[in-house]
Subunit: 203 residues, 2 copies
């Protein structure tokens, strides 16, 4: 019985996170009420507190969970991939495909940093830096090898991330372009942006 209750508890906690993400996506953190959250999950408002300590804790769990899962998945995608060109290719491929199916996570992560308490915000900022550093390292390695021309690694890192993540805002799975086409088009844009000449240096 205890085991079954544990399993139901885990399911309820997961349902709360999913509903919380959707409600914050649709209404904003301040616009989301815990009453609506309880209703969407199908529990009494009071029993939410068996699963989340506060609304702030829920937001922090959503944002930190997203960042930790993202970075772990990136590390898996980059594992064993050698050389800056191949690693950049793997990064672009991973970052695009991972985010294309996570529109709500991307939006909430970008729009609700404002709603984090300072200590929580510092943690999320640190997790973002960890993720960004992996791309910055690829660019710096390529620049050191003479494969890339990157006058400012930090600016190029932010520029590439903004360009790739921006796709989430307009991409429609049933639209004109397949995911593979979107990935190929962006890899080309990113790669050209940091190479002295696309004609003289080839992967």
């Amino acid at each position: 019985m205890a085991r079954r209750a544990g399993s139901d508890g885990a399911k309820t906690a997961e349902a709360i996170r999913a509903a919380g993400l959707r409600l914050i996506f649709e209404h904003g953190y301040e616009g989301m009420s815990l009453r609506d959250l309880a209703e969407m999950v199908g529990v009494q408002p009071g029993s939410l507190y068996n699963h989340i300590a506060t609304k702030q804790a829920l937001l922090f769990e959503l944002l930190s969970g997203h960042m930790r899962t993202l970075t772990a998945a990136l590390d898996e995608a980059l594992a064993g991939v050698e050389g800056p060109l191949a690693r950049l290719d793997a990064f672009v491929d991973f970052h695009l495909r991972y985010h294309l199916t996570r529109k709500m996570e991307v939006f909430v992560n970008n729009s609700e940093l404002r709603s984090l308490e300072p200590r929580n915000r510092a943690v999320i900022t640190g997790l973002r830096r960890d993720y960004e550093r992996r791309l910055a390292d690829i660019l710096a390695e390529g620049a050191a090898d003479g494969v890339f021309t990157v006058p400012d690694v930090k600016v190029a890192t932010y520029a590439i991330l903004a360009q790739l993540t921006g796709v989430v805002g307009w991409y429609a799975p049933d639209g004109r372009l397949s995911e593979d086409e979107v990935v190929a088009l962006h890899y080309q844009l990113v790669l050209r942006g940091i190479r002295e000449s696309a004609q003289t240096i080839r992967p």
Copy 2:
């Protein structure tokens, strides 16, 4: 006296827009209360309605006002500039500098499309398309001239806009880089991204 009242009325309306922008930036549209807005402006809640019809009308006015002013300013920046390379340069320069001083407008325009009623959202979407079309036209002209290589004008347009607007999220006027340096670094990234070879084709 009537004239003076009119002038005060215009000042109050402007103060309401400025306070509304800040409150939506900080709390989200749903999280902003008209009571807080009245308090920030220093008027009675009831007298807000002498200036704005509804909270929705205020949001629509903020977003549409931003888009119309932006596109008019772009047209001014591009006026008389000939040829796709010079026009792209002017576009990048304008878009970056204009947005760097409008962090709140950029954030609210990107995060609160969700809060617009369908008819209002259609208007804003149309205004965004108008603005995007100007960049798309530059890219298409350059591709037709053989100056740019753009396999997909729409994707390149969105990619460039996301890359440039993303700067607003991290740029600090008192930071490491001057505005001129940020503009130059991005012009280089953008230009390389759409040119077959930076070595064989020069402006």
